[in-house]
Structures are given as structure tokens and as C-alpha cells.
């Protein structure tokens, strides 16, 4: 469980707070989307979830423990953060070692490390590259490798910062599949993204941030219907919600994916035939 209680944060030397009065509780088995304009404080917020940043005022507790009381490594074991740019973490000589890096840091035994790395390589279709330098992988593969290197230590919370940037359709499909599978294992996935279509497909609990404060925290269906809040946070509507806006009351709920939209429209066109 991640608990955030009246969190205020500012960088040393700065005058203004980047985060103001953030209150949050995130439990296990949730999908959470965090959205907001550039510079709204999203990345600063998620860096509090494993203790990389400590609150200037207020508290962040991970499974009941204040992030000021333990090391980043201690919290990272439970909360895995995958940053946007793979270039900021890839350094090993081989793909295998890149995945094993964190497992070694966390002090797992050799046997378990081997087992976990093997699993991660297979799960992410990277086995054929295991002895290759990770720098030679394509952009999409590098992103997959970063996710693999975090999932390998089996954290309870997985935080993804802009996972869809530069990703094509097939890679996005795969990502959604992985997120859904993680949820069935009672993990929590937190996705920070600008990609409204991707967020809509996840149907998450949605947290909107603007200017360092939480503007709205709730069900993504109701938030995406609320024009004034979206306007305030600089977020556009997913096409399927637009469709609902245009056709309401002919359809009663925004469809969650194209298949549902298709069956709704089909019903409309057929029902009246």
C-alpha cells in the first residue's frame, strides 16, 4: 500500500512548491493512470513512491513505512520504477547482465537470479539477445528490456513513466496484455502517460494533476466525461468518448474498446431495421 498524506515538495534553492497538498492511497491489484500537462509534477510525484525524493512536508508511507526511514533500495524492492528513457539506465555488457543487475543489488541468491533472469528474457521475447550488448537493441526492444529488468525482481507496485512514447501498435498491444496479466497477480500498475487512447484502453483509476495538485482522482469513465476538468488539465478526449458524446443518448456508456463500440453501433443500426 502506498499512502501519501498532505505531501508538499520543493527542490532545494527553489521558492515554489512543485507538489502541493497531495493526498492519495493506492492499494494492491489496481491500475492507476496519472495524467497532466508538461511540467505539472507527475514525475516528481512518482519519484516519491520509492523514496527517491522525500517530502518537504507531509508523509509518504510504503506498506506503513515512512520513506524517510529507509533507503531507496529498501523501497525499490517493493516499488519498481521504469523511467521513460532506456538510455538513462542501460549500461551492462550483455542483456543478461542488465536484467541481473538489480537482482544482484537486492542480494538475491545466484540460483534465484538465474531463474528470474531466464523467466524475464523468455517473457519479453529477449532470449535470443541474451549475450548481446543491450546498446545494440532497437528502441522498442530497449524499452522492453527496461521493463523486464524491473519485473525480474517481482515488485508489488510497478510504475511506468510514459511507456508508449515511440512505441508502435504491436508493442502497445503487448504492453496492455502485460499490464492486465500483472493485475491478475494482484500487482498494482501505475502508468504516467500523455497517451489518452492508451489510458482509455486500460480503464484505470485516473488521477489528474495540474500545477502540482491533484485536480481529480476517480474512475476514468466519469473523468473523461467531464469537459471542464479535462480542459483545466490540458487533456483531450479519447475518440471512443467523443463518439459517446456525439451519440448520447443513443448509446448510454462510452465503449471501452473498438469491439464494444462496434457491437453498440451494430445494435443501433440493426435494432431499427
Amino acid at each position: 500500500m502506498i499512502e501519501v498524506e498532505s505531501l508538499y515538495f520543493k527542490y532545494p534553492l527553489a521558492n515554489d512548491y512543485v507538489l502541493k497538498d497531495i493526498n492519495l492511497k493506492i492499494g494492491l491489484g489496481e491500475v492507476v493512470g496519472i495524467m497532466g500537462g508538461n511540467g505539472s509534477g507527475k514525475t516528481t510525484l512518482i519519484k516519491h513512491f520509492n523514496g527517491l525524493l522525500k517530502p518537504t512536508k507531509g508523509f509518504v508511507r510504503i506498506f506503513g513505512k515512512d520513506t524517510r526511514e529507509e533507503s531507496v533500495a529498501y523501497f525499490s524492492k517493493k516499488v519498481g520504477l521504469v523511467f521513460q528513457n532506456p538510455g538513462h539506465q542501460i549500461f551492462s555488457d550483455t542483456v543478461w547482465n542488465e536484467i541481473a543487475f538489480a537482482l544482484k543489488n537486492f542480494g538475491f541468491e545466484e540460483e534465484i537470479i538465474n531463474k528470474r533472469v531466464k523467466w524475464a528474457l523468455e517473457f519479453f521475447n529477449l532470449t535470443q539477445y541474451k549475450d548481446m550488448s543491450p546498446l545494440l537493441l532497437s528502441g522498442g526492444e530497449k524499452k522492453r528490456l527496461c521493463l523486464a529488468s524491473v519485473l525480474a525482481w517481482n515488485p508489488d507496485f510497478i510504475i511506468l513513466d510514459e511507456p508508449t512514447v515511440g512505441q508502435d501498435f504491436l508493442q502497445k498491444e503487448k504492453l496492455i496484455e502485460i499490464i492486465k496479466m500483472l493485475i491478475t497477480q494482484n500487482k498494482t500498475v501505475i502508468v504516467v502517460s500523455h497517451d489518452v487512447e492508451f489510458i482509455w484502453l486500460l480503464q484505470p483509476r485516473l488521477i489528474l494533476i495540474s500545477n502540482g495538485t491533484i485536480v481529480k482522482d476517480g474512475d476514468c469513465k466519469s473523468i473523461f466525461k467531464d469537459n471542464s476538468i479535462l480542459e483545466k488539465c490540458g487533456i483531450t478526449k479519447p475518440q471512443l468518448v467523443e463518439l459517446y458524446d456525439e451519440l448520447y443518448p443513443l448509446i448510454e456508456q462510452p465503449p471501452v474498446d473498438v469491439i464494444e463500440a462496434y457491437s453498440m453501433i451494430l445494435k443501433l443500426l440493426r435494432g431499427l431495421k
Binding site: 508538461n38 522498442g140 515511440g166 508502435d168 504491436l170 475518440q239 451519440l247 443513443l250 431499427l272
Partner: protein, 287 residues
Amino acid sequence: METLTEIIRFINFSFSYSGSNSPILKNINLLIEEGDFVLLVGPSGCGKSTLLRCINGLIPHLYNGVYEGEVIVDGEPVKNKSVNELATKVGFVFQNPENQIFMFSVEKDIVFGLENIGLDKTEIDDRLSWVLRALDIEHLRYKPPYELSDGQKQRVAIAGVLAMKPKILILDEPTSLLDPRTALEFISLLKELNRKFGLTIIAVEHRIDLLTNVANRMVVMDKGEIVFNGCLKDVIENKNLNLHGVNVPPVIALQNYLRNEGFIFDAFYLNVKEFSKEIKRRLLEID
């Protein structure tokens, strides 16, 4: 309609980077006309970025490799043109504008390119005030890059190349770092540049729903080859697009499903509003 003139042409073009044994571009034939707004898509690693770099001469002038066939820009082969001349024909906006702004103020950064091509003071003055006005960034004139938001940086990057008065503007995933609203604003700016100044635009973009209402041409690449090429409306209705890694916008995918089921539409609707209007019209008809 005015007569269209050719601006870019690839003729049986192939390229492989030196040191690599497989070609990154294979037998490309492509014609782009002046004033076109081309949406270029394809899975990562398909050769899109390489193709763009062949147009503004980074290939072969900066990167070496095996260069076969011909790329013709504004009537002359790229490989015969000097980089200097190409810079005034083709503007290139990269994915990360941070790496494209060199100077400590917006004005000085715009002037940088103009000094490079050896313009005199009065000409620089003219172009400077023109480009600041055209992109609506007069208020940013004296700001340093670290005081600019991401969207503003993207505009400044465009200003820097637009001041060189190019005929072609190339953008490599220009909105990938922008939030949804800023991205939309940016796209409408591109539309204006295309319509108002007749600028030929070629944009690589993964979120193609942003561009379906502004682009008129669409080119799909996969594994170094062009798989689809034509009028955007014709290309986008192709059912196999997602197999080539293209993020087909939901409203398009929806129409494909309905067509499969035997519902024929007069036209292919690119945005939700028009599509919904058509659905409503049909329902009334049935009534």
C-alpha cells in the same frame, strides 16, 4: 486546382549504413508534390528516420554508406547539392528540440542559422520579425531555452529552420514529448504553415489520430520498404495497417469492422464528428 509540381522524388533508392550488411532502405520509389502534407508511419526500426535524413542530405553528407539510386529534391540530386544549399531548401525538426536550440535566447538561436548562410543585417532583421510573428512567439524573443516549456521549445525549433525559408519541413516525431493539448495546438500550427505558406510537410508520427485531419498523403513503411503510399483517405482504410505497427485510430478501426459486416459508407470518415453524423443520418432514414 493549381497544377502540382514535383518537389521530392526517390528513384530506385537503396541505402545501407557503412558497417551494416543489410540495407536499411530497399528500392524506394516515392514522389512528393509541392504543398503536400505527408504522414509517414511504420514500426520502430522500419527506416523512417533514415528516409527523412536522405531528403535533407544528412545522408550522404554526414553519414557514410552504400548509396544507390537517386534522391531528387527541388529538381536536383541531393548528393550533388551542398549542405548549405539543402539547409535553405529543407528544414528539419528533430524529436528532442532541446538538442536543436544552441543559443541562450530565442532571437539569437534563430539568427544563428541566418548568419551561417551569410545573410546581411537587414535581411536577418526582416526574417527575424517575420518568423517570430508567423509562429506567434514574439513574447519569447529574449527568453533563454531553460525558461521555455516543451511546447514552446518545439515552436522555437521550427522558427530556427523556418527562418531559412525552406520549401520543405520535415518533422521526426514532433509531438511525442508533448501533452495532448499542446500536441493539438502544435499540429494546428503545422496545418497553418502548410495552408498559408504552401510549405511541403513530411511528419513521422505514431499517434496518427492527431494528423488524420491535416495530412493529405500517407506513406507506410515496414522493413525498409514502402508498403502503402497514396492519398491518406485511401491508405488509412486498409485493413492490414495494424499488422505494420500502425496505431489505427479507433474511429477508423470501427468503420473497418462495420464494413466487414456489410455496412457500406459513401466515404471514409476521419473524425468522430462526421462519423457520428452519418450514423445519426442513417438512423433517421431507417425511422
